[in-house]
Symmetry: C2
Subunit: 553 residues, 2 copies
């Protein structure tokens, strides 16, 4: 059997001009990056045209078994496109750090892939690198201000601006920097996060345009004074320079699927520490260009799904016309308590226990009033009985569940799913927001925990309570909330699989992200800089003298 | 008067297709990056074609007055091109860090500029960022190997692989990282250099092709075992992955001058810690495509010039047909002892004292047997008498000196210089290498100090002496030498201007760069990570809602 990169390398890639034309772009609206990638900037007049239908692909709580959410999104879009409807994908950019670590890329798999696979998973068009250098340039400018007389009275013990790098490197999690004597800065503690966790990534993906991005950058709070007053980028006077470094990164990237469906891949914020969705600009561009737009959000419906609906949708000014929840027999069995090594064995009782996880996500997404479809991503070990059990379970909740075999068959494996999804977009929906903009942080959090996670409520640490008081003074107490939580469980305990109910979410600390425009609530132990495994994928990756890459999954 | 970025923004930029065609590239030999940049990979058959004439532009010891070496190189190429000869430039890529600090870019100035100016000075085609992430990925893989049981017995106190970032950030010069407990790595001291100082940058710019680059990467020594045995990337088993990350960065970038002369800009290694020249691949490509190729090397003839001739030329398999030494009246007056504020005042005696600096560079370059021309880069404050004094001085040493007014007039201001340079390329030269490949490190260093710097010899620190003994055991004692020395003086004392003679170069320490294939000799205090000034340029840089950039000089 061929592996992903071999399938990708054997696929026919159309010149990007042809994809740009198929997407309906004018010559002045795109710029090539190589022969198979482009940057897109829509003409102003496009904002007057009608928008297509929006399909959000999300999933049950992810497991180590893999749900294949991106793969389903790609296969679904290819299947809709194959029916002659003008279709586009709007996906996130993969982070390069993990590619050298333990997983493959984030460009789908098998015959439901986005091309050029290796480029997209490595440097792509440089967006992540631009964000990395903008974030680190700002860090250098902050430390330089402290070093050069500290006119803003910044307290080096209370900085809020980590440096970032698109590398899995646990050694960079905690450090003391500025050592080496008086000419090498002011010593202080510091940390690097992975680039996907950076506030600039969140800003770039939420910004409506360059103007909005620059305004958001100026609102970033980089730290506090010795008197605990917040200090912004506007006060540092370098917002224009940082925005300048992101002038190209803010433009969506155009590529194609194996079946040549035009695909915008843009922005890749983490779905735990940030909103986990592709950019507002790219989704908006796709909606103006296509009749059907398939997008996805990171991790499960409780993380990326909720954040799409509560944080991104209000900025986009559009909510999904249909939500697709991806589930697999294997992952549901894991949620039902089966050991990973036994997943290939049929086990109906375990599957039925695990269905509670799907049930909670159906319930939480139904709450928003958007038509739902469950996609059962097919694996060869699935039995007909198991598939039927999922269908019956979803059906009892009023939701159609449709198997799709996209890895092996691409769009052709998602015909039935596509038909169901297109039909669902035509059903009337009426969006019911989870919370009101002027709800306070505690109210917003409580609604998320009760209505989305199925838990009891929240418990704030002493520190978090103290922060809430201060934030009220600063006028930050009504921001949208981003819960930074494990993706593996509906609760904040990674091992609580299935659908726990009797749990409370413990908020350890809040992290204000004034530029992104949200408040992060840290629960449990959240990793913002991953590490490498014992045998990193880098040991398998190679390139021959002709430039042919191997070992990228 | 317009400033550089205004001139650049007002200039007509031809589509990159037109430049690629003018350069004689086949469609299959280039890929667009935006509408005005491209990556170039020459077809194999090109290596059978004849090579053009190579013109190396270097300078006297740089001063704060600015010599305009890149500006002269651009103007000279435009002037040769204007005579109908097929001409190309082969230049270094600017580092982005300093752009936010105190200086403008490195794309020439006035009407002798390379376009698109802002892009080239910021992220360009991502080469620096690819090198940054490759260097830091390797650092993460090294630390991960130590963390995961340390099978190679690497001593964390004896690592030779700094992390890098293309930012001026003194806070990153010295740190203790790996803090935070057992799951966050092994604590050790560390440092970040600016990306231009990285060994991967040196490797990429010296590699003949992808195969050579990968072989060099595998030879990198990343540190020592507890038994002080060197450990290579080959032993870590990740050379293929690191080479994969540089698959596009190794391709030269095509752009154009204001006068549309095709220009390859590729690689930007520092000229103190590394070889300071553009890439072998780009120079080779230009030589295969054009009849006249103008290239330059960093800082003065003692640093970039010497390194071009002794380190790059043997790999390129071609030595320059003419060397141009750039001098200015102002810089020579500074070398003659005039204070910076008085430079606009005529001062013939100071100029005549300062000419000794030019004299030493003429002498050292003449030693190689290559025809020389002195270019006098014109400033409005220059008097006719001062210009004549330079001409007379050079003429007495058998070297023509020709004024050029390239900032204000572009190629039209370098007609006479171009005529002199083209004539010089036709004069017979016979290259005499400075040292033999099998000379030992001490011999090589002594020859550089005596014949190039005009000094007495070298003095090794106790540490450097001890290192030489060890290196002999490892078989590293016959590598080419890169002297890391201040650019401001022929000696290792930045304030010793003019042409000091009674000096010794003090070698503090050697740094082996087995991948790059040279030994760095550190003299004096060499900065591998610059800092930002009190009022960084970032405060002036801005972008408006239409994407129009201001404040980049």
């Amino acid at each position: 059997m061929k592996i992903d990169i071999e399938i990708a390398q054997a696929a026919e890639v159309w010149p990007i001009e042809r994809i740009a034309q198929a997407a309906g772009l004018q010559e002045s609206e795109w710029e090539p990056y190589g022969r198979d990638k482009a940057k897109v900037s829509l003409a102003k007049e496009r904002s007057q045209t009608e928008r297509g239908k929006l399909i959000l692909v999300t999933s049950i709580n992810p497991t180590t078994a893999g749900e294949g959410k991106s793969t389903v999104a790609v296969g679904l879009a290819d299947a809709i496109q194959a029916t002659g409807k003008k279709t586009m994908l709007a996906l996130r950019e993969p982070s390069m750090g993990p590619v050298l670590g333990m997983k493959g890329g984030a460009t789908g798999g098998g015959y439901a892939q986005v091309l050029p696979m290796a480029d997209i998973n490595l440097h792509f068009t440089g967006d992540f690198h631009a964000i990395t250098s903008a974030q680190n340039s700002l860090a250098a400018l902050i430390d330089n201000s402290i070093y050069q007389g500290n006119p803003l009275h910044l307290d080096p013990r209370r900085l809020l601006w980590p440096r970032v790098m698109d590398v899995n490197d646990r050694t960079l999690r905690h450090m003391v920097l500025g050592l080496g004597g008086p000419t090498s800065g002011v010593p202080h503690e510091g940390q690097f996060d992975i680039t996907a966790a950076s506030e600039l990534m969140a800003i770039l993906t939420l910004a409506r345009d360059l103007e909005d991005m620059k305004a958001r950058i100026k609102r970033i709070v980089v730290g506090y004074t010795y008197d605990k007053e917040p200090v912004t980028v506007a006060e540092l006077g370098v917002g224009g320079a940082i925005a300048t470094l992101l002038k190209d990164a803010i433009k969506p990237n155009l590529v194609q699927t194996i079946n040549h469906t035009p695909t915008l891949i843009h922005g890749g914020p983490f779905a735990n520490i940030a909103q986990g969705t592709n950019s507002v600009q790219a989704t908006e561009a796709a909606l103006r260009l296509a009749d059907y737009v398939v997008t996805e959000a990171g991790f499960g419906a409780d993380l990326g799904g909720e954040k799409f609906l509560d944080v991104k949708a209000p900025i986009l000014g559009k909510t999904p016309d249909t939500i697709v929840i991806v589930a697999t027999v294997r992952a549901l069995k894991l949620h039902g308590g089966v050991a990973e090594k036994q997943l290939d064995q049929p086990d109906l009782p375990a599957l039925e226990r695990g269905l509670a996880n799907l049930g909670q996500h159906i319930k939480s997404m139904q709450r928003y009033g958007v038509p739902l479809v469950v996609a059962i991503n097919h694996f060869t070990s699935d039995t007909a009985e198991e598939i039927e059990a999922i269908k019956a379970y979803a059906s009892a909740k009023g939701v159609p569940a449709v198997p799709a075999d996209v890895w092996a068959a691409g769009g052709a494996g998602a015909k039935a799913l596509a038909a169901e999804v297109v039909a669902a977009t035509k059903r009337p929906g009426r969006f019911v927001p989870l919370y009101q903009p002027d709800d306070d942080l505690t109210t917003k959090l409580t609604k998320i925990v009760r209505d989305i996670y199925g838990g009891q409520g929240i418990e704030l640490s002493t520190k978090a309570k103290r922060q809430l008081k201060t934030f009220k003074q600063y006028g930050w107490d009504q921001l949208p909330v981003i819960v930074a939580k494990t993706q593996y469980s509906l609760s904040d305990q990674p091992k609580a699989l299935g659908a726990p109910t009797d749990f409370t979410i413990h908020v350890r600390e809040f992290v204000p992200k004034l530029g992104a425009g949200f408040m992060v609530a840290l629960t449990g132990s959240i990793m913002t800089m991953p590490g490498l495994p014992k045998v990193p994928a880098a040991k398998q990756i190679d390139i021959d003298n002709q430039g042919h890459i191997s070992g990228l999954f």
